[in-house]
């Protein structure tokens, strides 16, 4: 059976996906922040900051307004059935983005890098950013993350070996890079962050893998035991840095560490660190002729 897209229906579904991503903080992020709040000293700045963040998340959900005014780079990972026109899906996403901007779910964020002019509707070269994949299922799966500029500015890429960190071309070297990057970020990425780590690849693939980790559930366990160990060790050690929420000091510097890997050239060993702010906004749409659902 040929998979048909009802453009109007998909348009409305994508606007709703954007609204959910922008205004509803995922449940796993909220419970990780609640855990952080309860681990901080009563009455400390760290605890009151986390309280305000949680209060804000609830307010945004109730009022259907953006959690954060920086609605960020809109990153889509879209999986489509065989034979679906990618250009058609792309067009629907771009138009839905313009509609969502009009509705103030998104801030008009996209600036021409040459002239400095804001396009006013979030359209632009490579904006929104869409990655496509194909699968055998008769439905579209669309994941969206909104990644703000503050967290993107403290994201980092290292090349191993790194003399300054005495970091070799192994997992111990990778570990040192992440400690260094999160320490350098301090509160600037809006801590507590979620750390997406991409090991290997070329520079672009490494960062792609790192950013893809943002979609994982904070409470999941990496199926690869080596990567699972690294996630656990980094989570524990990053939280003793004492940077705390917004860099005010405290035990809650990161909410989670998620690791992925890609094959690399023998000559290249990149460590890509995608820092995601506590306002880890992402949502998923499942779309078929029978079903429109979100999670």
């Amino acid at each position: 059976m040929k998979f048909e897209i009802d453009e109007k229906k998909l348009h409305n579904a994508v606007v709703e996906l954007i609204r959910r991503a922008s205004t509803q903080l995922p449940a796993d992020v909220i419970s990780a922040m609640e855990k952080g709040r309860d681990s901080e000293e009563p009455g400390s700045p760290a605890q009151s900051v986390l309280k305000l963040m949680l209060e804000n998340a609830q307010m945004a959900r109730e009022d259907e307004t953006p959690i954060c005014q920086d609605t960020g780079t809109n990153i889509y990972y879209v999986t489509v059935p065989v034979g679906v026109s990618l250009r058609k899906v792309e067009k629907v996403i771009v138009e839905a983005t313009k509609t969502a901007t009009e509705k103030a779910y998104l801030r008009p964020n996209m600036v021409d890098s040459i002239t400095g002019r804001n396009t006013g509707d979030n359209s632009g070269v490579m904006s929104p950013l869409i990655h496509f994949e194909e699968w055998d299922e008769p439905k579209i799966n669309m994941q969206l993350a909104l990644k703000g500029g503050g967290s993107e500015n403290v994201s980092a890429q290292y090349k191993l070996p790194d003399n300054k960190l005495k970091a070799g071309r192994n997992l111990d070297g990778v570990y040192k890079c992440v400690i260094d990057a999160v320490n350098k970020a301090q509160g600037l990425g809006c801590a507590p962050g979620i750390i997406g780590l991409g090991i290997g690849g070329d520079r672009a693939i490494g960062m792609l893998i790192a950013k893809k980790q943002i979609f994982r559930n904070i409470d999941d366990t990496n199926p690869d035991s080596e990567m699972a160990k690294l996630e656990e060790k980094l989570y524990k050690d990053l939280n003793i840095l004492g940077i705390g929420p917004m860099g005010f000091g405290g035990n809650t510097t990161v909410l989670g560490v998620k690791v992925g890997a890609a094959h690399r050239l023998p000559a290249s060993f990149f460590v890509s660190i995608a820092y995601m702010c506590w306002a880890d906004r992402h949502a998923t749409l499942n779309y078929s002729s029978e079903e429109v659902s979100y999670d």
Binding site: L52, D70, A104, K166, C190, I240, G249, A279
Partner: protein, 192 residues
């Protein structure tokens, strides 16, 4: 919680110390990258009265126009360190008494806060819905056409806008203290 109503005097600002929680009221002016470059390079006169004794807020809001009136929908702070090359000079040039942002600023701004008598007030990054609720009225907007919505200079009136002093007029910076401590831990973890 200390309450501050803009415009404020130098004496008032000098009493504030790192760690004080301060609730803001009155008029504030939004300005980020374009606005700071403009103030630093062109020193426009038309905003002098507006800025005297008041505060500049590093923020690019989400706004909505309803019946010809602007409404603030989301308005949390943006990263302040980008304004480090300009902030100290802008502060003195326009006789500002405070800066609001997130992440703190560097040595040049810290020195200017001390010399001129001003504070850095930290708002909680990402709490845009909550902070937009503290905006009771949008009075004006400057440079909207040229700078675009996130970069324009919005003139707003706020009530009970929550902040924390993280850099004061006595040379103290919470950011320096936290960084100093975390550097020691990081060095230990990295050297194994």
């Amino acid at each position: 919680m200390i309450s501050l109503k803009f415009p404020v005097s130098e004496e008032e600002v000098r009493t504030l110390k790192v760690g004080d929680e301060v609730s803001l009221n009155g008029i504030m002016v939004l300005g980020r990258d374009n606005a700071h470059a403009w103030m630093y390079e062109e020193k426009p006169d038309e905003i002098r009265n507006l800025l005297k004794g008041t505060v500049i807020y590093h923020c690019g809001p989400v706004v909505k126009k309803v019946d010809d009136e602007w409404i603030f929908v989301a308005a949390g702070p943006t990263t302040s360190i980008r304004e480090e090359p300009y902030q100290g000079d802008v502060l003195k040039e326009y006789d500002l008494r405070a800066v609001i942002g997130k992440g703190g600023m560097g040595d040049k701004t810290l020195a200017a806060l001390k010399e001129h008598g001003a504070v850095y007030l930290h708002a909680i990054g990402g709490t845009a819905a909550l902070l937009a609720k503290a905006v009771v009225k949008v009075h004006d907007v400057l440079k909207l056409e040229e700078f675009g919505i996130p970069e324009a200079m919005w003139v707003i009136e706020v009530k009970d806008f929550p902040t924390v002093v993280t850099m004061d007029s006595h040379g103290q910076s919470l950011h320096q203290v936290i960084k100093g401590k975390s550097n020691i831990v990081a060095d230990k973890l990295i050297s194994g």
